[in-house]
Amino acid sequence: MPAVNEPVLRLYVAGTSATARRAEKQFADIRTHISDEWKVEVIDVVERPDLAERAGILATPTLSFDRAERSRRIVGDLGDTNKVLEFLGIKAKGDPE
């Protein structure tokens, strides 16, 4: 696991449902738009309820941007990459500084 304050993108999904598969696909698509340096984790809340408890996850899919400051989370449909990145405050590859 990364150090506590290191920024990390965590995707919480439930089992192997269609919703979970769609979210994983959308997440893979998002990753093609951001730097490869990003640490990412995919967590199955059915397998790891303890991690869901620690993070206070209620709904799936949830994409959580955890960092030293306040976390930002998107719940539900992750299909709109630009919107997702904008809300999380993550720069896309090739965007100007």
Binding site: S17, G56, L58, P61, S71, R72, G76, K83
Partner: protein, 498 residues
């Protein structure tokens, strides 16, 4: 209560899970069914969290049934602090592995955006994880309304997801209790109408302002597949106890009737009653002010103590000092009786607390002092502070309590008019008491006399005449019957009217 791991569903008999609110368990035929979901609805401050926590606490302390508390509103630490006053040490149970929290309270550590469809698999897996970790049999979700506030947007998604959670927990043979907020005391059952989706059973807690008094009640609205008592039962929230409901109409008339007689404290009245009051009966003394009700009470107490019995008096009209002075005026020494531990006199302002609390006070002191007889002076003072239905419920509970303890009870009621007449309390209590003694002013030509008659004596013959009586420094003296029978029931005698 035993659990059968197999055929719980096919047996058709629902295992009952006791809530710890005795009178409520009676309303629902023994408790809430296992493997069912009960929604407890109530306005803010109606006692939902207390009721829900008590459900868990009772399981943990009395049945070894561990629990999970899913909190959507306050963090676990706050709940532990808030519930301590009711005598529940949630923190200790948590450390002992008998209680697990799922903290779903609003997180200060993240901003969240909800787009499109989602499920609550995260919540469900956390609840199931917590239930496994303490081997739970009971689960509480408090309160669903906060969940709706969290996931604003399409309530249909939430209803579907709550249904899924409820089904999954039921399948795990858990007794599930969910709380939900109501907007008003009488109206829509819960906000968002979620009871329609998840509830097998619906319970309503109310906190109604009536005639400047708060009145808390609990009502069972629906019990899928089983019977339940109808109507609102009053309850109160007590320190170190939590929700204490008052059993009502559900009370079975199971009291034994005794034929043991005890003295009324006055030999002539004993004779009129066919040998005294019955030991486990309640007698009403009704009369206008000044007719001698308190004297009868004093005789009743002193008569018991003289026979070696213990007696208790609940006074709502006069102070202790006044009662002691009255008694010594009739030659009875209350102070000495109290010093011997044979008598206890409790004086309370009727307005000091609500009727359910008065009832609990009486029950508590009777169980503590263990008297053979109890007197209440007067019911009319208590009636002042209660709505009509509340008073009737109080009387039912009080009289059945007195009989259950197999002690002799004497209550007084004040008639409103000086000559004859019936007050509301008399109408209520006349059907509930076993015996009625009327004290009346009776006019004969130019003089006012006092008259006493035994109107009713359940299970016994009694004298039918109206006896004259006088009061002096030695107490009450019964004289001859009135020759020309006056009408003691109506205000003024019809025969004398034209």
């Amino acid at each position: 209560m035993t659990t059968q791991e197999e055929d719980v569903d096919v047996s058709g008999v629902l295992e009952r899970v006791k809530t710890g609110v005795n009178a409520f368990d009676e309303l629902v035929m023994g408790g809430l069914p296992r493997a069912r979901t009960t929604v407890v609805g109530g306005t803010p401050g109606s006692g939902k969290t207390v009721f829900a926590t008590q459900f868990l606490a009772h399981g943990i302390t009395n049945f070894g049934e561990n629990g999970v508390l899913v909190t959507f509103e306050e963090p676990p630490g706050d709940i532990e602090a808030n519930m301590r006053g009711f005598g529940w040490d949630l923190a200790a149970w948590r450390k002992e592995g008998r209680l697990a929290f799922v903290d779903a309270s609003p997180s200060a550590a993240s901003d969240e955006l909800v787009i499109g469809d989602y499920d609550l698999a995260g919540l469900l897996s956390r609840i199931e994880h917590a239930a496994r970790s303490v081997n739970a049999r009971r689960v509480v979700l408090d309160s669903l309304t906060q969940l709706f506030d969290h996931f604003i947007g399409d309530p249909k998604v939430l209803r579907r997801e709550l249904f899924r959670i409820s089904s999954a927990l039921k399948k795990s043979k858990l007794a599930v209790l969910m709380t939900a907020e109501r907007n008003s005391e009488y109206g829509e059952i819960t906000r968002h109408r979620l009871e329609e989706f998840v509830a097998d059973n619906v319970v309503i807690l109310r906190n109604v302002l009536h005639r400047e008094k708060r009145r808390r009640t609990i009502e069972v609205l629906k019990m899928r597949g089983s019977h339940h008592a109808e109507g609102e039962a009053p309850f109160t929230l007590l320190e170190n106890k939590g929700v204490v409901a008052i059993p009502l109409s559900s009370l079975r008339l199971e009291q034994q009737s005794s034929d043991i007689r005890v003295t009324s404290g006055n030999r002539s009245i004993d004779e009129m009653c066919g040998g005294g009051f019955f030991r486990d009966s309640v007698t009403l003394v009704s009369g206008a002010t000044g007719t001698g009700k308190t004297l009868l009470v004093t005789n009743f107490l002193a008569g018991g103590v003289a026979q070696g019995e213990k007696a208790i008096l609940f006074g709502y009209e006069e102070s202790r000092g006044q009662l002691f002075r009255n008694a010594s005026g009739w030659g009875v020494d209350f102070a000495q009786m109290e010093a011997q531990g044979k008598l206890k006199i409790v004086c309370l302002y009727p307005e000091a607390q609500g009727l359910p609390d008065h009832l609990l006070t009486i029950q508590g002191l009777v169980d503590e002092f263990q008297p053979n007889r109890v007197a209440i002076d007067s019911l009319s003072a208590l009636e002042r502070i209660a709505p009509d239905t509340g008073f009737r419920e109080f009387l039912i509970s009080l009289t059945s309590f007195i009989k259950k303890r197999e002690i002799a009870g004497l209550c007084t009621a004040t008639s409103k008019s000086l000559i004859g007449g019936e007050s509301a309390s008399e109408q209520h209590i006349s059907t509930l008491t076993d015996s009625i003694i009327l004290l009346r002013y009776i006019q004969e030509q130019d003089t006012m006399h006092r008259g006493l008659m035994v109107l009713k004596m359940r299970g016994s013959e009694h004298a039918k005449e109206i006896r004259r009586f006088t009061i002096d420094g030695a107490g009450m003296h019964l004289g001859e019957p009135f020759k020309q029978a006056p009408n003691v029931f109506s205000g003024g005698d019809a025969e004398y009217r034209t």
